[in-house]
């Protein structure tokens, strides 16, 4: 029982990270109709910012803040330079464009920083265990859950309570009509990328502090999972992306924890098998609506 609860917390921590990534992908998809595969490099940028600020003596929370901010700015720049020239192209074109941007950025990291991983230590107090009655959970894992849930709540408040949030929700429904109503397209798109970048930045900080290392291809694996979560959740559905993200992280940890040792090799395969199964029974996604 104890083990299950502890693993469940680990699952939620990982799932929260996936949910943040999936949400960042889904919010861009809902407006521009493509999955940004270069999203992973935003995580990497956040990671490298943490690494580069290590020696400066800036306190840890401030470093996190700067890293998240940098990821957000990078996302806005990415849209301005990389995606805007392709505005209005088919989804596949934009998807593959983002793929090209992603590999190009990886090569830049490879050459400017280091092909090998750089170690990023988090303060020791984050590694302490919290004793909650019979179970003890890592403070880091606990904070991950809190950070991702907190961010999700903040985002949903922003989308519901502010004028900009309403514009974004309207654009997600029908971008053309929204523009005809006098909402400036570029401002909405930039804002969406800023949000997506901030989400990626937080996910990147969480990912790096779990692993204590950052390397050029770091963003690939988590974004692959976020990508899957956003599709399984129902493309463009924000709540769906969050639910599927948590579910995916949870399943992954559970498979890892309870698969027999000699079957651990097949871990990823099992997770993906479940994903394909989910798609087969809900092709439009868990919370997506069937479209004709």
């Amino acid at each position: 029982m104890e083990l299950i609860i502890q693993q469940a917390v680990n699952g939620l921590a990982l799932g929260g990270t996936y949910a943040l990534i999936a949400l960042g992908l889904a919010i861009v998809f809902s407006i521009l109709g493509f999955i940004n595969l270069a999203h992973g490099e935003l995580l990497t940028i956040a990671g490298y910012t943490m690494f580069l600020l290590l020696g400066t003596g800036i306190p840890f929370p401030a470093r996190v803040l700067v890293a998240v901010l940098f990821a957000g700015i990078a996302a806005v720049l990415m849209e301005r330079i990389g995606f805007r020239p392709f505005r209005g192209s088919a989804g596949v074109t934009l998807l593959l464009t983002s793929y090209a941007i992603s590999t190009s950025l990886q090569v830049v990291f490879l050459n400017l920083i280091d092909p090998r991983g750089k170690s990023v230590q988090v303060p020791a107090y984050l590694n302490t265990l919290l004793n909650l009655g019979p179970v003890s959970i890592g403070l880091k894992q606990g904070l991950s859950v809190v950070a991702s849930v907190g961010m999700l709540v903040a985002l949903s408040l922003f989308l519901r309570k502010t004028r900009m949030g309403a514009s974004i929700r309207a654009a997600a429904q029908d971008f053309q009509i929204t523009r005809l109503m006098g909402i400036p397209a570029n401002r909405v798109v930039s804002m969406v990328f800023l949000i997506s970048g901030i989400l990626a930045g937080i996910a990147g900080v969480l990912w790096v502090s779990q692993r204590s290392t950052v390397d050029p291809a770091m963003g690939f694996t988590p974004v692959l999972k976020g990508f899957v979560a956003s599709i399984v959740g129902g493309l463009g559905s924000l709540p769906g992306a969050v639910v599927a993200g948590f579910l995916l992280g949870f399943i992954e940890i559970m498979v890892e924890a309870f698969l027999p040792a000699d079957a651990q090799v097949y871990r990823e395969g099992v997770v993906w098998f479940l994903v394909i199964l989910a798609l087969l029974f809900r092709p439009q996604g868990l919370l997506g609506e069937a479209k004709e």
Partner: protein, 365 residues
């Protein structure tokens, strides 16, 4: 059709030929088109051979088989394959390698494999037939799922297929040596063999593209609902293209296996996926000529960049190798080609179709 005859009064041999071609059955047109493409391919290979050695040309031709194979599914159905084809390449290489490697090698490299498998030493041709047969079944199983899914989900599922095949290869250590190198595969793939493979792949892909199945699938790519309304069974069309495409990719895998003779699952993963995607995008997936051109562009670029990537000297300044220069250039070229020619270098019509149409329309349009 009689009115067409008077409208396009033939005035020269070329025009006469063009006219009879455009009125000929699709099969004849596809074969004629394959012939044009095959001749162009042989010519281009001869030129490349002057600049580089046999190995480069062979590698190029194997890539032609792979990308033409991927194009059969991606180009005709419009569904991106984010990986499954790399998995089929791996399966082809491993299966054919297992069936042909000398018994003496397998006793050492695969001590835990069943006795009958250790002793088996099939000739190349039989190994190909059996390997492709098995992969056709794997493709059928995965295709039943993928063909049912909407476009975006199907693309994700192809990624899942790659990862599942990858972990299966790593997991079945008794047969594949897991993540360590699988070696001892006899070298059968020479330049003529690869050339034959490439021409065969082109003919098959062209015949499929021009067939009723290919045409219907391409119509479903443009508008799924409209095609279905006209009676096209989109699910079955996709499934057929998927299997054919998987078998062609696996054929490329067999050729690769017998070309590099030692490999591990890592070589058939995301990097390979990226590579075939770039080739297909640059060339354009709507035609069979597109993948061929894409493979040429990418492989030649890679060969040319090999020098600078491992370090170079400009004006006495020594530069260390620029890591991943090839990837950077390929990514850049992909961006440029997406911007200027999102439909790929070859566009939507085969070169032979353009030629014929050009001859016919010069005066009358």
């Amino acid at each position: 059709m009689a009115s067409l005859d008077t409208q396009w009064a033939p005035q020269s041999k070329v025009r006469e030929l063009s006219q009879s071609l455009i009125l000929a059955p699709n099969t004849v047109r596809s074969l004629a088109g394959s012939l044009v493409l095959a001749i162009a391919l042989i010519g281009a290979c001869a030129v490349v051979r002057l600049l580089f050695d046999d190995l480069v040309v062979t590698n190029l031709l194997i890539n032609v088989v792979l990308v033409v194979g991927v194009g059969v599914f991606m180009g005709n159905s419009g569904i991106s394959s984010f990986g499954a084809h790399a998995g089929f390449v791996a399966l082809g290489a491993y299966l054919s390698g297992l069936l042909t490697a000398p018994a003496s090698v397998k006793q050492v490299s695969l001590p835990n494999a069943p006795m009958w498998l250790q002793g088996i030493e099939l000739p190349f041709v039989w190994a190909i037939v059996i390997a492709l047969g098995i992969i056709a079944v794997v493709a059928l199983v995965s295709g039943v799922v993928i063909s049912r899914l909407p476009t975006n989900s199907a693309a994700i599922a192809t990624l899942g297929v790659l990862i599942i095949l990858h972990v299966l290869l790593i997991g079945s250590e008794d047969f594949t040596r897991g993540a360590t190198t699988f070696y001892g595969v006899p070298r059968f793939t020479t330049l003529p063999v690869a050339l034959m493979g490439a021409i065969l792949a082109i003919v098959v892909a062209r015949l499929y593209r021009g067939s009723a199945w290919g045409l219907q699938l391409r119509s479903a790519r443009e508008d799924e609902l409209a095609a279905a309304a006209f009676g096209a069974n989109v699910y079955r069309l996709r499934l057929r293209a998927w299997i054919l495409s998987a078998v062609l990719a696996a054929g490329a895998g067999v050729l690769i296996g017998h070309f590099i003779t030692a490999f591990s699952p890592k070589g058939f993963y995301f990097a390979l996926t990226f590579e075939y995607l770039v080739m297909l995008i640059i060339g354009g997936g709507s035609t069979v000529a597109g993948p061929v051109v894409g493979a040429f562009v990418v492989i030649l670029l890679r060969e040319l960049l090999r020098g600078p990537e491992s370090g170079f000297e400009i004006l006495g300044f020594e530069f260390g190798g620029l890591f991943g220069l090839t990837r950077l250039v390929l990514g850049g070229i992909m961006l440029i080609s997406m911007f200027y020619r999102p439909q790929g270098l070859m566009g939507h019509r085969e070169p032979d179709e353009r030629l014929v149409e050009g001859f016919l329309s010069r005066r009358h349009r």
